[in-house]
C-alpha cells in the first residue's frame, strides 16, 4: 500500500543551486520609464533601430493589462520595484576565458556547466548569461569555421545588425502579450544563433541562465535562425539562488526555420521554486514561439520544468510552410506551493502540416499544475494532422491537475486527435516493484521516470540524463 507520508516525504528535496555568488555587479536604479530604457540601450551601445523597437514596445506595454486568465494566483508584481539591468562588473574587453572573473567561473563550475574550454570533450558550445549579461561563449572559432554564428544578442546587435533588424520581433511581435512587450522594452541580453544554408551545426549549442541578484529581473531574448537545409540542437538551462523575494523572469525566444531546416530547442528549467511555505521563488513568464516559414521545416520543443514558483509558458509553433512539422514534448513537475500553467500552441496555417504534443504533468504537495494548449487548423491547412496527449499524475491529495485544451478547426480535410488522462501512481505497480525487492522511493522514481519516458526520449542525451536525475532528486530524499 502506498504510504501517503512516504510519498510526501520523498518529494521533498532541497534546492542545491540556491547559493549566491558574491560578485561586484553594476546595477541601475529601480523602476521603469523611457529614461531607463534609453539608459539600457545606451549602456549596450545599441543602434537607433533597436532603441526605437524598445520604446515602441514600452509604449504598447503601458497600455496593456497583465493577463489573468491563467489558473495562477500570485501577489501582484510591482513593476517599478524591479531593477531592469544588472551586470557583473568585468574588465573592459575579454580576449579569453582566463580574464573572466574567477568567481564567476567558479559559479558555473558549481553548476556543472562545461564553460571552460578544457571540457572540450563534451562537445557543447555554451553561452552563459549571468543576471542580465552574457559572460562568455565557448567554441566560437570552431563554430565560425562552419559559418555558424553563436554569440550573445548584444554582440549580434553590434556585428550582425542586419540579421537582428530583419528578424527580431517577427515571430513574437512587441504587442504579442504583456510579458513579451515588457521583454521587448527592457531585454538586456540573451543568445543569438545563425545557421547558414546547408549547415548541420557540428555540436549542440547551449545557454545557461543564472539569476544572481534578488531584486533584479531577468529579461533575456533568444533568437535562432536556421537557413535552408540547416539544422541545430539548442539546449537551455536555468538556475537561481534562494531569496525570500520573488524575482521576475520574462524571456522571449524566437525561432525561425526556413525550407528544410530543423531546430530542436530543449530546456531544463530549474529556477528556484520558493520554500515549502511558498516564500520566494522565480516568477517565470516566458513567451517562446517558433515559425516554420519554409517548406518541410521542423521545430521541436522539449522541456523539463521543475523549478519556479510560477510558470507561465506556452512554447508554440506557427506552421506556415507546406509539410512543416511542429513538436512539443514536456514534463512539468510541481511540488509544495508551486504553480505551473504551461502547454503549447500549434497553429496550422500551411497545407499538410503536422504537429505532435506530448505533455506529462506531475503534481505533488499543494501544487497546481495545468496544461493549457491550443490546436488550430486554419482554412488553408488541408491534409494537416495533429495528435495531442496530455497525461497528469497526482501525488498526494492536496495537489491539483488541470487540463484545458482548446481545439479549433476550420478545415474539414484535416484531423485533430486529443486525449488526456489523470491518474495516480498505481498501487499495484508499486506493490509489484516492492515485492521484487525494490525500495519504495526507487520504485516511485522508476514509475515517474517511466511516466515521462516519451518526453525524455526526445531530449538530447546529456539533457535526458540530467532531467532524469533532476526528477529523481526531487522525488528522492528522506525515505529509508
Amino acid at each position: 500500500m502506498v504510504n501517503e507520508n512516504l510519498v510526501q516525504e520523498s518529494v521533498k528535496e532541497p534546492y542545491k543551486y540556491g547559493f549566491v555568488t558574491d560578485i561586484e555587479t553594476e546595477k541601475i536604479e529601480k523602476g521603469l520609464n523611457e529614461d531607463i530604457i534609453k539608459l539600457i540601450s545606451h549602456k549596450k551601445e545599441e543602434p537607433q533601430f533597436l532603441l526605437d523597437f524598445r520604446l515602441k514596445a514600452f509604449k504598447k506595454w503601458k497600455k496593456m493589462k497583465e493577463p489573468d486568465w491563467a489558473a495562477l494566483g500570485y501577489k501582484k508584481i510591482d513593476y517599478q520595484d524591479i531593477i531592469y539591468y544588472s551586470a557583473p562588473k568585468q574588465k573592459e574587453k575579454i580576449s579569453s576565458l582566463d580574464e573572466v572573473d574567477p568567481k564567476l567561473l567558479e559559479t558555473f563550475d558549481k553548476l556543472g556547466i562545461p564553460l571552460t574550454e578544457q571540457k572540450k570533450l563534451t562537445n557543447v558550445a555554451v553561452d552563459a548569461v549571468f543576471d542580465s549579461v552574457s559572460i562568455a561563449t565557448t567554441f566560437r572559432e570552431e563554430l565560425a569555421e562552419h559559418g555558424v554564428i553563436f554569440c550573445s544578442i548584444s554582440e549580434a546587435v553590434k556585428n550582425h545588425a542586419d540579421l537582428i533588424e530583419k528578424y527580431l520581433g517577427t515571430v513574437v511581435p512587441t504587442s504579442d502579450n504583456y510579458f513579451a512587450a515588457l521583454n521587448s522594452a527592457v531585454f538586456s541580453d540573451g543568445s543569438f544563433v545563425y545557421i547558414p544554408k546547408g549547415v548541420t551545426c557540428p555540436m549542440d549549442l547551449s545557454s545557461y541562465f543564472r539569476i544572481n541578484s534578488g531584486d533584479s529581473g531577468q529579461f533575456e531574448r533568444t533568437l535562432i535562425i536556421a537557413e535552408e537545409s540547416s539544422s541545430v540542437s539548442y539546449l537551455e538551462g536555468c538556475t537561481a539562488p534562494m531569496f525570500d523575494t520573488n524575482t521576475l523572469h520574462a524571456a522571449v525566444v524566437e525561432l525561425i526555420a526556413l525550407d528544410d531546416a530543423s531546430i530542436k530547442y530543449s530546456t531544463v528549467q530549474n529556477w528556484y521554486a520558493g520554500n515549502e511555505e511558498g516564500i520566494g521563488g522565480i516568477f517565470n513568464f516566458v513567451t517562446k514561439r517558433g515559425k516554420c516559414l519554409g517548406k518541410r521545416s521542423k521545430i521541436s520543443w522539449s522541456q523539463v520544468e521543475t523549478g519556479s514558483a510560477i510558470t507561465w509558458k506556452y512554447p508554440s509553433c506557427l506552421l506556415l510552410g507546406e509539410e512543416s512539422v511542429g513538436e512539443f514534448y514536456s514534463v512539468a513537475l510541481t511540488n509544495n506551493l508551486q504553480q505551473a500553467d504551461t502547454g503549447t500552441k500549434m497553429i496550422h496555417i500551411g497545407p499538410k502540416t503536422k504537429s505532435t504534443i506530448v505533455s506529462k504533468g506531475i503534481s505533488a504537495g499543494n501544487s497546481k499544475n495545468s496544461y493549457r494548449g491550443l490546436v488550430k487548423m486554419g482554412t488553408k491547412a488541408t491534409g494537416s494532422r495533429n495528435y495531442s496527449q496530455c497525461d497528469s499524475m497526482l501525488i498526494g491529495d492536496q495537489a491539483s491537475a488541470n487540463t484545458f485544451p482548446y481545439i479549433k478547426s476550420q478545415q474539414p480535410n484535416s484531423e485533430i486527435e486529443h486525449e488526456a488522462t489523470t491518474c495516480r501512481i498505481s498501487e499495484d505497480q508499486l506493490f509489484y516493484l516492492q515485492s521484487r525487492g525494490i525500495e519504495f522511493e526507487e520504485a516511485v522514481s522508476m514509475m515517474v521516470s517511466g511516466f515521462c519516458r516519451d518526453v525524455f526520449n526526445q531530449l538530447p542525451m546529456e539533457f535526458a540524463a540530467e532531467a532524469d536525475k533532476l526528477l529523481a532528486l526531487k522525488l528522492e530524499g528522506s525515505v529509508g
Partner: protein
C-alpha cells in the same frame, strides 16, 4: 439594459412575481453576459442580440406536436397551457409542486447563481410568468413515459421553466421537446432534483425552424445512488445554446450523457457542460458529437471538476466532431480540473471529416457517394439517437436528420 426595460414595460412592477424581481435585480448589475468570459467569448454577439429582439410573449398559442400520441398511457404535458395534473395511482403519483415549494426551491437555486454561468437562467426566471413555470413531483415506480413540450411562437420571445423533483427510489422516462417556430426565441430552463436511489432516462430534443433561437439550460442535482441518463439532440436553430450543469451532491452517483448538435447554413449551436463531483465514487460517461456544414459554427465546452472530497471518481468525456465544409468551423474544449488523487479521469477530442476509406469501400460495392455518406452519417447519429427515450415508430429522428436538410 434594453432587456430589463423590455420586461418592465411589458408588466407593471406589482405584477412581477418575487422570483422575477430577484432575477431582474441581479440582471440589472450586468444585463448582458461578459463577452470575454470563457463561456460566452465564442457566442455570436449579433445572434444573441437577435434572440433578445423579439417581444416577450406570455400568451398561449397553439402549435403542432411533431408526432401523434400513439400510446394512451403516455403522459403529455405542455408548459404554458395551464395544465393541471394530479395523478395518484397504485404504483406512482405525479403531482404539481405547490407554489411555496416551487418558490423555495428556485430561490435556493438562485442563491448559487453566477452571473456568466447562469445568465440564461436569470433571463429565463425574470421572463417566466407564473403560467409558464411547471413544477412536478414524481414518486413511485412503473411510471408511464412522460413527454413535456415547450415552444416559442413566431415573432416572439417565450420563456418556459420546468422544475422536477424525483422522489426516492423512483425511476422514470422523460422526454422534453423544445420547438422553435420561424423567427422566434425560446428560453427554456429546467431544474431537476434526483433524490436517493432514483433514476431517470431524460431525452432532450430541440428542433427549430427557419431562424429560430434557443437558450436551453439544464440544472441537475443528483443525490446518492441516483442515475441520470441524458440523451440530447439540437438542430435547425439559427442560434442555440445548451447549458448543462450537473452536481453530484454527495458522490456515489452515475451520470451518462450522450449529446449531439447539428449545424447547417450559418447556424451556431453550442453545448456547455459542467459536471461537479462533490463526493466520492462518482461516475461519468459523456460523449458529445457535433456536425458542422455550410458556413455554420458548432461549439462544445465541457468541464469536469473533481475536488479533494471526490476520491475514486471515474469520469470520461469524449468530444467527436465532423467538419463537412470549408467554411464551417468547430471549437471544442474538454477540460479537467482535478484535486483528488485517487481518480480515473480522461478525455478525448477528435475533429475530422467522413472517413474516405470507408466511403471508397462502399463505392466499390456499388453504393453511390450520397448513399455511402448517408450510411456513415446514420451510424454517427444512431449512437446518440438510440439513447433518447423515444421510439422510432413515434418520431423517426434519424430519418428526419438524414432527409430533411
Amino acid at each position: 439594459m434594453e432587456i430589463i426595460e423590455k420586461i418592465k414595460t411589458n408588466k407593471s412592477d406589482n405584477k412581477l412575481t418575487e422570483i422575477q424581481k430577484i432575477c431582474l435585480h441581479k440582471l440589472q448589475s450586468s444585463p448582458l453576459p461578459n463577452p470575454k468570459s470563457e463561456l460566452w467569448r465564442l457566442s455570436n454577439k449579433s445572434k444573441l442580440s437577435t434572440f433578445l429582439d423579439y417581444s416577450v410573449n406570455e400568451k398561449d398559442s397553439k402549435f403542432d406536436i411533431p408526432y401523434p400520441k400513439n400510446s394512451q398511457s403516455t403522459i403529455r404535458l405542455i408548459i404554458g397551457e395551464n395544465c393541471q395534473i394530479k395523478l395518484i395511482e397504485k404504483n406512482y403519483s405525479i403531482q404539481q409542486l405547490s407554489e411555496d415549494e416551487l418558490q423555495k426551491y428556485i430561490k435556493e437555486q438562485i442563491s448559487f447563481f453566477k452571473q456568466n454561468e447562469n445568465w440564461s437562467d436569470l433571463l429565463n426566471l425574470s421572463l417566466s410568468c407564473k403560467n409558464n413555470i411547471l413544477g412536478l413531483k414524481i414518486n413511485g415506480s412503473k411510471i408511464p413515459p412522460i413527454e413535456i413540450f415547450s415552444h416559442a411562437s413566431s415573432n416572439s420571445l417565450d420563456a418556459k421553466t420546468l422544475v422536477i423533483f424525483l422522489e426516492k427510489n423512483c425511476n422514470v422516462e422523460l422526454l422534453q421537446v423544445n420547438l422553435g417556430k420561424e423567427n422566434s426565441s425560446l428560453s427554456q430552463s429546467t431544474f431537476f432534483c434526483l433524490k436517493e436511489n432514483s433514476s431517470v432516462n431524460h431525452g432532450v430534443v430541440s428542433y427549430g425552424e427557419n431562424r429560430s433561437n434557443l437558450l436551453n439550460s439544464l440544472n441537475v442535482i443528483q443525490q446518492k445512488n441516483s442515475a441520470y441518463n441524458l440523451g440530447s439532440l439540437h438542430f435547425k436553430f439559427n442560434y442555440a445554446r445548451f447549458e448543462i450543469s450537473i452536481k453530484q451532491s454527495a458522490g456515489n452517483a452515475k451520470t451518462n450523457i450522450k449529446g449531439m448538435q447539428i449545424t447547417k447554413k450559418d447556424e451556431q449551436i453550442s453545448t456547455y457542460t459542467k459536471i461537479e463531483f462533490n463526493g466520492p465514487n462518482g461516475f461519468l460517461d459523456q460523449i458529445n458529437k457535433s456536425l458542422a456544414d455550410d458556413k455554420s459554427h458548432a461549439i462544445f465546452e465541457g468541464s469536469i471538476i473533481v475536488p479533494k472530497i471526490a476520491q475514486k471518481t471515474d469520469a470520461s468525456q469524449l468530444s467527436r466532431n465532423l467538419l463537412l465544409s470549408n467554411l464551417a468551423q468547430i471549437d471544442t474544449k474538454p477540460q479537467l480540473e482535478i484535486i483528488a488523487d485517487d481518480v480515473k479521469c480522461k478525455h478525448g477530442a477528435t475533429i475530422s471529416q467522413l472517413n474516405e476509406e470507408e466511403l471508397f469501400y462502399m463505392r466499390t460495392r456499388g453504393i453511390t457517394l450520397t448513399e455511402a455518406s448517408k450510411l456513415q452519417l446514420s451510424s454517427y447519429f444512431q449512437e446518440i439517437i438510440s439513447f433518447i427515450p423515444i421510439s422510432k415508430d413515434k418520431w423517426d429522428l434519424l430519418d428526419k436528420l438524414l432527409n430533411e436538410n
